[in-house]
């Protein structure tokens, strides 16, 4: 199973790393969704969340699901209160202008796996 750190996975996109949480975390999976209810349904350890939803509840969802890296697609801009919550919980935030589809494609091609098959 391929593992990569934040720098390595960001090279695949590449986007802007706004905040880096735990630099040592290695990721093996990615999950792309704008629906937080679905994010909450699966095991999310070592998983990168890719989303076009940009609200404080994305951060809360990540916190509850043990997600430590979020990529915001389609040029969504993270607000200061989101940034503050991410800092508190050591969650890495990446912004990208690319679509959810393209980011997912690049991560998949780079070796990340889905949360289930």
């Amino acid at each position: 199973m391929k593992q990569m750190n934040v720098q390595q996975l960001n090279q695949l996109i590449p986007g802007t790393i706004l905040l880096e949480g735990h630099a040592s975390t290695l990721y093996t999976k990615a999950f792309a969704s704008d629906l937080m209810s679905d994010v909450l349904r699966f095991q999310m350890e070592q998983t990168v969340l890719v989303t076009g939803l940009c609200t404080i509840q994305v951060l809360r969802t990540a916190e509850m699901s043990n997600i430590t890296c979020i990529i915001f697609a389609r040029g969504k801009r993270v607000s200061p209160d989101m940034l503050a919550l991410a800092e508190e919980h050591h969650i890495t935030l990446i912004e990208s202008a690319l679509t959810l589809f393209e980011i997912s494609g690049r991560l998949y091609q780079g070796g990340l796996e889905p949360v289930y098959r």
Partner: protein, 136 residues
Amino acid sequence: MKFCYEITGGDFSAGGSASSQVKKTLKQFNIAPQVLRRIAVALYEAEMNVVAHAWRGSMCVNINVDHLSVVVEDEGPGIEDIERAMEEGFSTATEEVRQMGFGAGMGLPNIRKNSDEMELTSTPGIGTRLTLTIRF
């Protein structure tokens, strides 16, 4: 050890802060990360239900030796048909709730999945009471 938190209906920016406090507290105990995630997800779903549907509510958690017991109570419109509310995909959420990434009708089924015991009672026009047990 018992803790209670207030939940304000309609306050989406504060939604999740009660669950966050509980998770923070439980992190001090020797609880398996997977169990902690189940607890956090169940509590967060329950808290967001109050934020999304009710006027006000509270979340009380009781930390016991081998399990966590939770009571989430609210004053609100209540649930007309609990059996239907428990079905995956059934939702009465507003457009605002859906824009926040919720309201897909997955909340209650997901709470059931993440808890060991769940009891939901409601009086339409008065409010709803949810009790959960999650074993460590």
